[in-house]
Amino acid sequence: MIKFHPSEQHLVLYTAGELSPAMLMMVGTHVDMCSHCQAHVRDIEQQLARKLLGDVEPQPLARNAALDEQAMLQAIFNSQPTPQTAAVAANDSLYLEGNHFKLPATLARNSHRIGDWSRLPGKLWRAPVTVGGEEMLNFIYMAENASLPEHTHKGNEATLVVNGVFNDENNEYRDGDFVLLDNHHKHSPATQNEDCLTLAALEGPLHFTSGLSRLLNPFSSLFFK
């Protein structure tokens, strides 16, 4: 059962296509995994459609327009259907450390954007997902009994559990859970006896706050290579 969902505003911006690329991937993947948010997105689509294409009488098309209706209709009737652009086949399998993960549809359709895995200190692995835009999108894989040093962020951090379970000081997060932390939150994510594959969007570099890990601050550059 998914306990943590994106906000309604996230879902509206996702449906309108107005989030950053990294957040579109995050919210889209959550929606793939969450029937509740799927229904919500369908409602939002309907509301946006009604608002934009509803029965308010718009200006006639020809009024200021470069083309008249008849000409455009003819152009459409004479046009050829655009061929399917699915250049890259969806791939919903991800292999890591001998584990096989089944990717939700949004990630499967974008699997060609997943870069190579690199190992980080502390039983962590990371792979960048290259989607364009300012924000970084990464897979973070935590093996069993792994932990990330306590840190805050200069910007916002969104984490989505793709498979497994992790916890921080406040909660336990499982498949599909979507967690958004702003720069006031400190947290130290860790796994217990189960591993965890997450997708993380970071607005700014990680900022380590606790004891020794402050010395590890250069470590944060590993997330931003």
């Binding site: 449906t15 029965d55 098309l61 327009a65 083309l67 209706e69 455009m72 399917q84 359709r109």
Partner: protein, 193 residues
């Protein structure tokens, strides 16, 4: 009683069905006269550029004309479907303005116009390996027209719409040929056991 307008959801869905099944220009024109000005108003607000707005209208409505068979009335209204097409086109327009190789494409986020081969679901889907091993043998026993469709879909990996375009036959014919061929293949495979 005023005549039914496309803002009546049922009527709009009927018009789309007519466009899909018989390429009805009259039905499409009615949809066009309703939706095109509204799309133009939306796109003009979004882009602040008349030509780009017109391009969005034309590209959106071209997709409605060519892909009406992908509209699923049980998933939402015609207006909602047309909105999602326009949303995708707008997203890709904005992306092309500052085109970078790795940027997301709308179809990879929201596959609104993906051909789903839905007649191949469940009942008619055959196990892949089974297909590959036995298709070639059994296909030879199919009528030529059915065999061609099956080969294009399963061996060349074309969508049903692409097969319809390639053979210049209606999509409905491709679907019924596929269905008949798969039924026949199932019988052949069963009797072979």
């Amino acid at each position: 009683m005023p005549p039914a307008q496309p803002d009546n959801a049922e009527h709009a869905a009927e018009l789309l069905a007519k466009v899909a099944s018989e390429q009805s220009r009259a039905a499409f024109s009615e949809l066009f006269r309703y939706f095109a000005p509204r799309l133009q108003a939306y796109a003009t607000r979004q882009f602040g550029n008349e030509q780009t707005a017109m391009d969005l209208v034309q590209e959106t409505m071209s997709n409605v004309w060519h892909k009406a068979h992908l509209f699923k009335p049980d998933r939402g209204s015609a207006a909602t479907w047309i909105f999602t097409i326009a949303r995708n086109i707008r997203f890709d327009f904005l992306r092309k303005n500052k085109y970078r190789q790795y940027d997301l494409s709308a179809d990879d986020l929201w596959p609104v116009l993906a051909e789903t081969n839905d007649s191949l679901d469940d009942d008619y889907a055959l196990d892949d390996d089974l297909l590959m091993q036995q298709l070639s043998v059994f296909c030879e026993q199919l009528p030529a027209a059915q065999r061609t469709v099956i080969e294009l879909i399963y061996i060349e990996g074309k969508s049903q719409q692409e097969v319809a375009d390639a053979l210049q036959i209606p999509l409905g014919t491709v679907k019924s040929r596929t269905r008949l061929a798969l039924q026949k293949l199932k019988e052949l495979i069963k009797h072979d056991d």
